[in-house]
Symmetry: C2
Subunit: 269 residues, 2 copies
């Protein structure tokens, strides 16, 4: 391969770092790949770092020492988060989203990959310093924001099931009481899913009383795991007393009025 | 903002294009953002295109005309796909994955975001020219490869449910016979999920006889949607006669021997 120009090395550096958030690459890796001295790569990284951070496109971290190298981290700042949530809030207020039972249809937004990726980046930015080992969620709708958060943090996702599928091997199950319907339900997780003493972030799409998330906490307790952060996309104003403590909710749903066809929702952070 | 150097413009270009696969940006967008003439941006794009494609990091496409611009497309070539699948195949053969019932535990790989992202990119590369409007899957395990495929193609994901949740509004349901267990099951999809006459790609994690995927085909028929591609991660050798026609399977599972603790699996493409 011929010698690369600076802008060519920079192109490859940015693409590879950005495709692998939170993954530490050694200078040697890039030095070999791009046929350039480590000192040259180091200068390239400084140039990339400067512009990525100046344009609020994320963080480039250099880690000194023998285990050192460079990594890209997702970072959505407050201004970017608020702009994104404002735009989304307008979409969520659209009265045509009201469905019988005063629910809001949100799947078109939740399952749109560019929205989902941004939501994951927002949660990842919020919980970046928690040194989490896993993102944990429960099927079904929580899976999308949870995998996007896991992707941005470069940690594995764990999905609790509402039943007990045979293809998961030995499982640990718990019963929990849904906070709003007061029904007893079950959630299970394969014993292989989590290492003991793990630090986990819980992500879900929707929270009313918090019974399901409380169930996930109890399940984590069985795995001797510590919940170090909880993020939901939408939480409801009522009931005011939730079954869990601190959580990070992107939106606060105050009321869905099926008669006047009005959705009262606001940014929750 | 001061005038940017070429390598600084290139950094921003690559980051933004790569974060938004299949999204067309106009030259004016970058011209404004980076305070440079369109002719300069055009030269930058040529430089980026050359090195991204030379290093097999994807495709940069320029679209001429009034609606034109530039976009990044995921492209995993055959060599990269085979290397990735070879590595994964070794991991899948590990006999400690065998769980009672001769199943293989795969969740740790399936839910690892970097593996999942790569699987999605491979499916996206395979189906890039199908002009699909949606990726369709059924809960639960298919969701991860499906959202990653949707992300790489920048099209929405649609998730069929195995039950009939109230929060989805009016649904269309079908009954289907699981090809292996011969049990009658139900799958449902919100009427709002898909526009009529859509082109869809079906993605799932595992296929034995193909009953579930056949069910998804029938469900798509109800929405007057056309299935233009089907991708699964693992399909089984037996039964040889599947309930569906053409499909793209990354792995072929021949046998799981619970006695000798041997997993016979090979690359399926």
């Amino acid at each position: 391969m011929e010698k690369l120009k600076k802008n060519e090395r920079v192109t490859a550096l940015v693409k590879i770092l950005s495709d692998n958030p939170n993954h530490i690459f050694t200078l040697s890796y890039f030095s070999e790949l791009l046929h350039a001295a480590k000192s040259t790569i180091s200068e390239d990284i400084s140039a990339v770092k400067k512009i990525i951070e100046q344009m609020s496109l994320g963080i480039i971290e250099t880690i000194p020492g023998a285990q050192g190298g460079v990594r890209y981290r997702t970072e959505v700042n407050n201004k970017q988060t608020m702009e994104f949530l404002k735009d989304l809030c307008i979409k969520l207020k659209d009265s045509s989203r009201i469905i019988p039972g005063s629910f809001i249809y949100m799947s078109d937004i939740m399952y749109d990959p560019s929205y989902a990726a941004r939501v994951g980046e927002i949660f990842a930015s919020k919980f970046a310093d928690k040194a989490a080992d896993y993102v944990v969620t429960i099927e079904t709708k929580g899976i999308i924001p949870a995998i996007m958060t896991a992707r941005a943090l470069n940690i594995p996702l764990v999905i609790a099931r509402r039943d007990n599928r045979v293809t998961e091997g030995a499982t640990i199950s718990i019963n929990y009481v849904s906070g709003s319907s007061h029904k007893i339900q079950t959630m299970s997780l394969s014993k292989r899913s989590l290492k003991e003493q793990s630090r986990v972030i819980v992500i879900d799409d929707f929270m009313k009383a918090g019974g399901t998330i409380k169930g996930l906490y109890d399940l984590m307790h069985e795995f001797r795991a510590e919940v170090v952060g909880t993020g939901v996309i939408v939480s409801t104003l009522e009931p005011k007393n939730k079954l869990i403590g601190e959580y990070y909710s992107l939106f606060l749903l105050k009321e869905v009025d099926n008669i006047s066809r009005h959705i009262d929702i606001e940014i929750g952070i």
